[in-house]
Symmetry: C2
Amino acid sequence: MYSEEIEDLLRKSKVKVGDFVAIEKNGNTMEGTIMPNTGDPGILVVKLTSGYNMGLTSDIKIKKLDKEMKKKKPFKYEHDKSKKTILILHTGGTIASKIHYETGAVHPALTPADIVSSIPQLGDLVNVKAEVVSQIWSDDIKSDHWMLYAKKMAEEHSRYDGIILTMGTDTIHYTSAALALMLHNIPKPVLVVGAQRSSDRGSSDATMNLVCAAQFIINGGFAGVGVCMHENMNDDYCLIHPGLHVRKMHTSRRDSFRSIDKMPIARVNMEGHIEYIEKIQQGKTFRPTIVFDNRVALVKLYPGFDYKQLEYYEQNGYRGVILEGTGLGQAPINSVDEFTKDHKKLLDAMRRMSKKMIVAMTSQCIYGKVNMNVYSTGRLILDAGVVPVSMTPETALVKLGWSLGQEKDLERAKKLFLEDVAGEFVDRVDPRAFLN
Amino acid sequence: MYSEEIEDLLRKSKVKVGDFVAIEKNGNTMEGTIMPNTGDPGILVVKLTSGYNMGLTSDIKIKKLDKEMKKKKPFKYEHDKSKKTILILHTGGTIASKIHYETGAVHPALTPADIVSSIPQLGDLVNVKAEVVSQIWSDDIKSDHWMLYAKKMAEEHSRYDGIILTMGTDTIHYTSAALALMLHNIPKPVLVVGAQRSSDRGSSDATMNLVCAAQFIINGGFAGVGVCMHENMNDDYCLIHPGLHVRKMHTSRRDSFRSIDKMPIARVNMEGHIEYIEKIQQGKTFRPTIVFDNRVALVKLYPGFDYKQLEYYEQNGYRGVILEGTGLGQAPINSVDEFTKDHKKLLDAMRRMSKKMIVAMTSQCIYGKVNMNVYSTGRLILDAGVVPVSMTPETALVKLGWSLGQEKDLERAKKLFLEDVAGEFVDRVDPRAFLN
């Protein structure tokens, strides 16, 4: 429900949620569909014909229009030899959502041609080839899709100056980690780009994220996999995050993506101003390794964690488990207190499982390195065969499946898993990157 | 291993790791035990007789002493009627660790009397009653201990001006959430205090955290449960975090604790200067509810999450599961893509389980509210009976066990779980608290 003030306005204007309307504000007129309230009840949300939401206060005039949401002209692609050319692979998600009328929620259905035609700045800047590679929420994107996207990029990158993958934001960091490993040393820039819902501000961050990504591709001299998202709430700069060290840190802010333990690669604005912060070194040999073994899991530990939960992975043919431990890589293994009954059973399970699969330790702190040598409990867990990996739990999960996908033999897979292939291990934590 | 320079110094001084030595630096002499290197190889770490580590560069003289680590005089408690009196409950952890000679790692073994005698500032400030309530790593602290500590506090708080609980840092935020719920409206200040390993700087943050906590207790006019830890790396101020909205965000920094979605309650320094940032309102009726049902779990979702993992909880008599979803509270439930075979089975499992237990959704973003009304997938998950809760996954887990501990009936437990009892629900996200 909207606030009384907004509901009053709707009543007086004789319109309701779902109606296609003309809106007059400060002498300007816009057309769009009235959306149900999902955020601030004092802000009327209107889905404009461009596909993006606008938030409006009650100082507007509303008039119902008898027609449907305008059908847009199909995007006509005209190649301009003087411009660089990028490939946009579209996977689904907020960045290309349109209203799902039945529920009032958004559902992925827009084509890339729609994106490009609605962002003329992109057409001014580059030649665009757009392709729909999936129609899927980011939450449903998994290893099969990562491999599909990587295969496409491996096949087509030489024909373009760079590639943008658009997707829903929720799992961008899993996808970027997978692409960074599968396409290690790719000689072209690959940027994963999303848009956060921004009904609170009534504007979309999709345009800026896409244009900044295109600017970085054509002017950045970058090769490798990054994530391009808002730097802050000011709509001025985007950050290019390293694909293996980035994470969604807020459920809704446009600046929710943050580099973890590393600095971002660069900041870039829509005019193409680029400031490099921390360059990434790539090797010259591009040999795509587009594999993944799905028999991996990510398990978060917590006080009172029931060790029997781990037995599922033992009994169901899993080949690897990433534990998200506490602090430096600890787990509730060694209670010396009278209250704990299952003394050492978690440690026993770790020891047993480490003989059959790769069991690795990360930290739920998110920031900072894992170091299991500091405390006696950590040493016991190390002794049980659990291997510490200083990377985000999300990147560790992807690295694990990717390593196991390459090697049938467990020891060889473990060796690959523990080897720093594409800079995925955090060797030195950058203190500037903490909560920044 | 230490750097060549440090190893040289040790060799020339004819001492090795584990030796008790006298160290001369700038004319001052200290005694302590040479520790193995766990951080910067260029910094020699010496465990002083006070129990704290000091980091030293090579510009020192070292002489081996033939005696053992000095035994300290037992702390003699002298009550001073002019001072306020605090109760320190000691549970174990880094804050009171001493060297574990066999492994070179630390192991909890110091008594509270040792703490107080090694921190004379504390004795100058307040009368202290110290008690060992457990000898346990924070990772092994679970609901039984939370209840033990809460019971002690409920029984004894009226005799003191405030209570400090010292513990290892890894799970402070789980403990503080449990105490905040079990002791809601306690009319005295209860502060959970820990210390981070600080071998990188060669100093301990234990002293400052404890003295700041004591200052806030005697001068803050506060009642309720908070966490007192370093604000930054400058050793100048501590923050008092709300017990229900705090999280360890870095594996090793002394300023790793951060308020999540709420501002800290106050900043305080060792001289007792206090700046309130965001006061917490408590009610007047203190009725401790010291219960917990252990049949709860915390499960992190991720791309490709195998829904069968949830069946463990169904089959093993669990009464509640906190899901750590992606973004606004999403899950890989609804792939519309040809690649996903287990179409909707995760949703089916959620629906089935929601009839038998409480299944709640939080977000792995850590920051920001959950909102499952925005996307059609979120709506489907809501429709399956999963309830969204805007709090950290860690606080949600504690709230779930606490709610189920009070109510045998599932519906009543769910009602309590979804009711804001002690301000645990994040009603309004404070933008200032994001990554701050």
